[in-house]
Subunit: 216 residues, 2 copies
């Protein structure tokens, strides 16, 4: 499996480290704060206390052998920039860094970060789209006014066909139904919704909203 | 259009306010810091300096008439809890609040917040899944090992059919192609990919990863 080094175990770094470990990656987690290290130690491959700007320390943990590096420390701009630079100098091919602001992000990109993450800004955009559809579980933007949404089958929809639920809403197409562990792709318009179904639909935001909010 | 009041214009609050304004909502933005208010004033319906814990001030801005309230102030726990409580006391039917920790989130939920957002934790989970597929633009989880991803057509794929690109990867199904402004739903296996196409595919994370990283 791929090796990932996570430097800085704040909420973003810790969540990345734990999710990657669940996904089967070999995760090395580093933080300057011993308590953060202790908290995560039994859930990752290797956890160590250390300063991410210390090239030698990182090599002693084989971070130079990592396929991916995550810079989870963002508040201290200087440290964030140095950790990113050090990872690149060590030859880590793909570095993801969390940025505190647009300017910070540009700075990190210029010194070599391959992907910049803006957690608060991205959460705001996503939550704003999710508002359009309060029952949606997740959403992918296709254009400023259309998207793909994963939606719990609307209340009272059990027994209705997809055609009955979608047709009157204009441009809304069901792409798949998740029923327990099964995935029904390109379901027929005659397919009847069952309790507990999750649907992925594509269409205008307005149609998605109308669909998810539909009263029985 | 629906009226939304955003209290606290940090990166999360500001991003929500601006996105909602773009989506056509009537946005009232409030912050205790005049500079944040000034920065956003020309991009929302109404921007005002004020303390979100002040029920009278919020009424004077017709926040009690809002359909949705957003609590974008998270660091000060007491203020975050009070603002949430005040919005609920004013009768705002749907309140979304940003939480700094799991405990903070539970506290907000107990005092009435309808949806809690954890920007840093959610960004970590999403970025971890996106790592599996470095070229993906976005991703929806269907199960711990499968999902839906929006992917740029892999390099060198132009001219190849969907069948040629997907078949050997096992469980991977293209659901739609975004070609400019057009959406081709349930595309045929014989459909040939064009430069600039964006594809939405569904399948195992491994198949998605193999698809997006495919060498020409
Ligand atoms: N030089 C360093 N090397 C390694 N880890 C560091 C270094 N400096 C700070 N850290 C750690 O990085 C982590 C994240 O720091 P940051 O200041 O960005 O916090 P945060 O805002 O809590 O992060 P998040 O928003 O992800 O929750 C902390 O756990 C901190 O101990
Ligand atoms: N009582 C209050 N009423 C209204 N706004 C407030 C109040 N207290 C703080 N704010 C504002 O809330 C905003 C967000 O505050 P917070 O301390 O949660 O910041 P933040 O960490 O920068 O947020 P983000 O993580 O979203 O960027 C700030 O702009 C701040 O001026």
């Amino acid at each position: 499996p791929k090796r990932v080094a996570v430097i800085g175990l704040g909420r973003f770094g810790e969540s990345m480290a734990l999710t990657l470990a669940e996904l089967g990656y070999e995760v090395t987690a580093v933080d300057i704060d011993e308590r953060r290290v202790a908290e995560i130690a039994d859930r990752v491959t290797l956890a160590a206390q250390g300063d991410g700007t210390d090239e030698e320390m990182l090599c002693s943990l084989a971070v130079d052998q990592s396929d991916v590096g995550i810079v989870g420390q963002g508040k201290n701009l200087e440290a964030s920039v140095l950790i990113t630079l050090v990872l690149k100098r060590l030859g880590v091919p793909w570095v993801v860094a969390k940025a505190e602001s647009a300017l910070h992000g540009e700075l990190l990109a210029r010194i070599g970060a391959d992907r910049i993450v803006f957690p608060e800004r991205d959460a705001g955009v996503r939550a704003a789209h999710a508002l359009t559809v309060r029952n949606i579980d997740d959403y992918i933007t296709l254009s400023p006014t259309t998207g793909l949404a994963k939606v719990d089958a609307p209340p009272g929809s059990a027994g209705a066909t997809l055609g009955e639920l979608c047709a009157r809403l204009g441009t809304l197409t069901p792409l798949l139904i998740k029923r327990g562990d099964a995935l029904l792709l390109a379901p027929a318009w005659e397919e009847r919704v069952q309790p507990g179904d999750e649907l992925v639909v594509v269409g205008s935001d307005a149609a998605i909203g109308a669909f998810a909010d539909a009263e029985p």
